[in-house]
Symmetry: C2
C-alpha cells in the first residue's frame, strides 16, 4: 500500500502517557503514570438511580440527536454552579459542551492557529494539549515557570518581540499538569491584561482548580477578563466521571459561535445521554459534596506520597508540593535521564511518566511526573519505596 | 474585540440542517428536514436494564478513562455482527470507535487532505460531510449520479486528468443522503479498483446500508478492496440510538493507527459508558431484531410519503423511490428555487431541507430533501398535503 497522508500527519505522535498506560495495565504494576481519578469514588448508586430516571422520563430525548452547543439544563447548571463561583458572570450563550476539555484544546488550535504560528505555553506543559495543537503545525515558545507559575514578565518580553508571531497563549493556572504549581493572583491579572493588549486568545485550561486541598481558591484568569480574549476550558472529568466525556468552553458569544461551527463539523454534538444524566444528577445532588469527598481522599494520598518520597528518595531529588490536583513533578540530577531510568522502574513494577515530552521543544530529560489520585494508600507507599530503591542506584554511582 | 481566527475558519459555515432544526422545533411544524430516527422505536426498557447492569457490575470501568481505539468487547461485536455480514474479513485491529460517523468524516479530511487538494464526491452529497471536509480547505469535484449511483466512468476520466489533483474519494453507496439512490454492484467493484489503481483513499460512508426495505443487500465497496485503500465508516446512530454517539472506522491497521493518533489529540476517546452499554446490550439482545422493527416502520412511512406525493404534488414534480434509508429527493422545475419556496412552506407549518447546500460548488436550487423516518404516519400525509398545496401555487403560475 502506498497511501498518501496529509502533511500535518508528520507532526502526529502517540501520547507517551497513553502508550505507557498500555504497558502499565498489568496488575502487578504500581502505576503513577496516568492522570486517572480514583474510580472507587465514582457515585455509582446515585448514577444508577439517575440513569434509570432519565431513561424512563426522558428516554426519547436522551437517546436522540440534540443541539451542537449542548443540553440547555446542563449548561444552566454549569453557568450557575461551576462558573459563577470562579468570579465570572456569563450566561448559557457563553458555554458550549465538549467531549472533555481535550476537545476544547484541539478546537482552539483549529480555530486560532495557522501553520507556523507560535503558541506560548508554560515550560513544562500538558503533553495532551501539545499533541492536540501539533496537528495544526505551530511553533511553541516555552515560558519558564517558578513557584508562582508561568513567569509572565518573560511572556511579556516575547509578546513585544514581533518575530515570535505569538497567536495563542496556553496556560493551566491551577495545580498545573505536570508541575503541580499554581499561578499567583497578580500574574493571573497580568495575563488577562496582556491578552487584551496584544489581542491574542488566551486558553485557560482549568481541569483541576476545584480540587484544592488547602488555602484559598484563586479567581480564574477569565474573571479578570474585560476585553473578551480569555477562553476558559472546564471539565467534569476530574470532579465527576471522565468516562462521560463532558467538558465545556467558556468564552465570548462571538467566539462560542465559531466553536459551535467547528463542533458541528467535528462530531455534531456530545453524547446526549451523558449530558442529560449529568444535568439530572446535578439537579438532585450537590456536586460540591462529591468534590469534598474527592478532595479528602486525594489530600491524604498527596501527603502520603510526599512523606514517602522524603523517606525513600535520595536526599538530592527535588519535587513540588501541590496544594491540589493530581500531580507532583520530580526533578533529578541534571545528568540523569528519566526515560532510561523508567526501564529499571518497570523491572521493579512501578511506573511514572518521563518528563521530556512535556517540553514541546525537547531538551530536559531529568524530570518525571507522578500521579497520586489513582492508587490506594498502601500502593502509594510501596510504589514510592520501589522507586526510591531504583533512584538510589543512580545517586550512589 | 479584534480577535484573529485561523484562515481555515473562513471556510466554516453553519449546517443548513442544524440551523433549520432550530426553526422547526416549534410543535406545530411538521418537519421533514432532519435526518432523525424515530425516537419511539428506541429500546428504552432494555436500555434501562442494561445501563443498570453496567453500573452495578462494571461501573468503575464504564465511568473511567479508557483506550483511544475503543472498548474491546464492543469492537469484537462490531467485527462479528456488523462488518462480517457485509462480506469483509477483518479483526479488531482494523476498527476504531468514533463519535458517530461524523467524526470519522472529519478525521478523514484531517488525515488525507492538504489545502487545495481535491475531494471527488457524488453530486449531490451529504452536506454534513462537506462541512466537515471544508475546514481543511479542499476543492470539490462533483461526480454526476444516475439511478445506479455515482457515474463511475466520469470519476475515472477525472482521475486520469492529473490537473484535478484528487486526493480522496467520498461516496455513500446505500440509500444515499440526500438522493436515496443506491449504487449498483458493478460500480462498487470498479470504485475499489480505481482507488487501488490511483492509490487514493476512498471513504465509503455506510450509515443506512442496514436499513433496506426490500431486495437483496449489496456487498460493501470495502468487501471488494484487496489493496487496502477503502475506508468504511459505520454507525449505530440509525440502527440503535444517535444520542450515544457511537460509530466506527474500518480500515487497514496501518491507517487505523493514524486515526488513533488523530483521535488521541482530538478527544482522547469515545464516551466509555455508552460503549460499555452498547457492548453489553448487544451481548444480551440481537440488534438485528431491533433493526427489523425499524425497517418495518420506515417502509410504511416511505410508502405513505411516496403515495402522498403522487396524490398531492403537481404531476411534473419528480422524486426518487428509495429502497431503504431515511430520505427521498425531490426535483422541481428548473426555474424554481426550493429555498425561497421554503418560506411559503414554513407559513404552512411544514419544512424540508433546500437542496442547494448538498452541491459543494453551488448551483442547483430546484431540489429539496425529505425525511420520512422521524414523523408519525398521520403527519406524513398531512405534511405532504400542505407541501403539495404550496407547490401547486408555483406550478399553476
Amino acid at each position: 500500500m502506498n497511501i498518501r497522508y496529509a502533511n500535518r500527519t508528520s507532526n502526529l505522535k502517540a501520547s507517551e502517557i497513553r502508550e505507557l498506560l498500555k504497558l502499565t495495565e498489568k496488575p502487578e504494576i504500581i502505576s503513577f503514570a496516568g492522570g486517572l481519578p480514583a474510580p472507587e469514588l465514582f457515585p455509582l448508586d446515585k448514577l444508577n438511580e439517575v440513569a434509570s430516571k432519565v431513561i424512563k422520563e426522558k428516554g426519547q430525548i436522551a437517546l436522540q440527536y440534540a443541539s451542537t452547543d449542548g443540553y440547555m439544563p446542563l449548561r444552566e447548571i454549569i453557568v450557575k454552579e461551576r462558573i459563577a463561583p470562579t468570579g465570572v458572570k456569563c450566561d448559557t450563550s457563553n458555554v458550549m459542551l465538549t467531549n472533555g476539555s481535550q476537545q476544547g484544546l484541539e478546537f482552539s488550535a483549529k480555530l486560532f492557529i495557522n501553520e507556523g504560528d507560535t503558541i506560548a505555553c508554560e515550560s513544562p506543559s500538558y503533553l495532551g494539549a501539545l499533541n492536540a495543537f501539533m496537528a495544526y503545525g505551530p511553533k511553541f515558545l516555552e515560558i519558564p515557570m517558578d513557584e508562582n507559575g508561568m513567569i509572565v514578565e518573560e511572556l511579556e518580553k516575547a509578546l513585544e518581540n514581533e518575530n515570535h508571531n505569538i497567536k495563542m497563549i496556553y496556560t493551566i493556572p491551577d495545580f498545573q499538569n505536570p508541575s503541580g504549581i499554581t499561578m499567583n493572583i497578580e500574574r493571573r491579572k497580568r495575563l488577562s491584561e496582556l491578552a487584551a493588549k496584544y489581542e491574542i486568545p488566551l486558553i485557560e485550561d482549568s481541569p483541576y482548580g476545584e480540587l484544592r486541598f488547602e488555602g484559598e481558591s484563586l479567581p480564574s484568569i477569565k474573571s479578570f477578563d474585560k476585553a473578551g480574549y480569555v477562553i476558559n476550558l472546564g471539565t467534569f472529568s476530574k470532579t465527576f466521571c471522565p468516562g462521560l466525556r463532558l467538558g465545556w468552553i467558556l468564552a465570548e458569544e462571538e467566539i462560542i459561535k465559531k466553536y459551535i461551527l467547528i463542533k458541528q463539523g467535528a462530531d455534531l454534538q456530545c453524547n446526549t445521554f451523558a449530558q442529560v444524566i449529568a444535568g439530572e444528577y446535578m439537579k438532585i445532588y450537590n456536586l460540591d459534596d462529591h468534590i469534598k469527598n474527592i478532595i479528602e481522599v486525594y489530600r491524604v494520598r498527596r501527603d502520603l506520597m510526599i512523606d514517602s518520597m522524603k523517606k525513600y528518595f535520595p536526599e538530592d531529588v527535588k519535587y513540588t508540593y501541590p496544594s491540589g490536583g493530581l500531580f507532583t513533578w520530580v526533578e533529578l540530577r541534571k545528568d540523569l535521564d528519566s526515560a532510561s531510568i523508567m526501564e529499571d522502574a518497570l523491572k521493579e513494577n512501578v511506573a511514572y511518566v518521563p518528563g521530556a515530552s512535556f517540553f514541546p521543544n525537547g531538551g530536559k530529560k531529568n524530570f518525571f511526573r507522578l500521579n497520586y489520585s489513582n492508587m490506594p494508600e498502601d500502593k502509594i507507599v510501596e510504589g514510592i519505596k520501589r522507586l526510591g530503591k531504583v533512584l538510589h542506584k543512580y545517586y550512589t554511582k
